[in-house]
Symmetry: C3
């Protein structure tokens, strides 16, 4: 399996898991099917859309309709399953973590491919990974996950840093991608599970 195939599959995987995380977040908001498609769409393609606009590239899903179809198909499937089975809402954390991991790395990768600098690649990675989830949370009226205290942007940032560093080495091209995705996903889910956080940003109280 060559690197382009891996990247395509990861992109489709990220699209599906973020679509599902959007649907889980919308649960209980009494959306109808196309309302659900809307929130799934915004969550799944929001980060990449922002990335492409900022980098001055054509928007990926306008060039290739598969992302649109995939979000719609995912919504239909989840919609049907949801009639019969109970999804634990905690699943959103895992789907969101996987989306964050995959899209951070793909965002950084795309910026580097286009010849942008390393810091821009890291920032683009964090924005691609975190922005869809931020829009999702704002739209459904939740405090964005990124603002809860467990490691979130931090995982994305260091994952992007690791990717940018590893891909400048002589390692086979799959390695930086896989290592940095695993790093983000494991760090984030571990932090949620153990309720770990970094020192928080809070002003001194006398």
């Amino acid at each position: 399996m060559d690197i382009f195939t891996i990247l395509l599959y990861l992109d489709l995987l990220g699209t599906i898991v973020f679509a599902v995380s959007g649907l889980l977040a919308a649960n209980g908001k009494r959306l109808d099917l196309f309302g659900a498609v809307f929130i799934a769409m915004v969550t799944a393609i929001g980060g990449g859309t922002l990335r492409d606009l900022i980098l001055g590239e054509p928007v990926f899903w306008v060039l290739n309709n598969i992302y649109i179809y995939l979000v719609i198909a995912t919504t239909f499937v989840v919609f049907i399953i949801a009639r019969y089975r109970n999804f634990p809402v905690q699943l959103i954390l895992y789907f969101d973590a996987l989306g964050l991991a995959v899209f951070t790395v793909l965002g950084a990768h795309k910026a580097l491919e286009l010849g942008f600098s390393l810091p821009i690649a890291i920032i683009t990675g964090v924005m691609t990974g975190a922005f869809g989830g931020v829009i999702r949370d704002v739209l459904v009226g939740e405090v964005p996950l990124i603002f809860r205290k467990e490691i979130y942007a931090t995982a994305s940032f260091f994952g992007g840093l690791i990717y940018v560093w590893l891909q400048s080495t002589n390692l086979p091209v799959e390695v930086p991608i896989i290592v940095s995705i695993l790093f983000i996903f494991i760090l984030r889910t571990w932090a949620v599970k153990l309720n770990k956080s970094l020192p928080v940003f809070d002003f001194h109280r006398h």
Copy 2:
């Protein structure tokens, strides 16, 4: 009246009704005149701005200042009327429904004109129609209309579908535009009036 004139008038109509819907939503938030201009502007030109950015086109209101002037003039007029008369807040639903209808069709039309595919045209239509209202609701701290249970994105989606299908036939160019606008407006207002909804998206409870 040729098709270009019709499209221009519809665009101006959509701008006015969405501006009014923004002002109605801001009612009670104690905005001053230019705060009101800001929310009216974002609501009225937000959807089309997103459409143009995503399609890689110059932003419409930067090319043609009439939209800006129209929003400002609408705000002044509503501001003055509001001193003397009581607007029933329910009006926002009709203004929003008309804006949704007009901008969905104009969004889909512009994408097709520029040679984009049919699915992209439908998605662009829904985004153009729904996005201004979503920003409006998020900014004033309301649950977006699109997330309340009556048919909303669904009306926009099927209206876009009808437009894309009808315009591929041999009907006179006005027909697809008028039919799909009426379809969206009537479906949406009927749903609000009768409190109709599609089956909602909610997970199975054991």
Copy 3:
């Protein structure tokens, strides 16, 4: 000091003060360091990013990484200071007012430089000045400052108008910039201090 140097310093100043305003707004939300970087970044570069996208220009911070570094450095410094000292939260109003003033004028200036019309320059100015703060407030779940009753968008609007008018005169280039920045900052802080507002937009109650 020539005009380009002045503009660059103002841009850096606006970036710092908006970053600080983002950090002050995030206070108490228990963000970790990189969550704080994220909110500071969005606040400081959001307005200019929107401006550049709308004007069809390359995004400023992608061209020049100094803005990114500056936001990160500001966050680190504030993060450390915050451990030892208590910032009065009211400071956010002053930082926000200064950011509003500087970015309104820079936004209008950039649009004029690129040959856009006067009304577009004023609108671009208001959007550049107000948008970062609006995103900040939406993300942290506050009612946007722009929607509280003291003069806000109004200060930005008239400051932009004054700038656009003065720069068409024969005054030395620094004068319009300095006068309009001072105008916005003083009007806004005076309004907050004295709790001044314009007549608010509210429908007549019978």
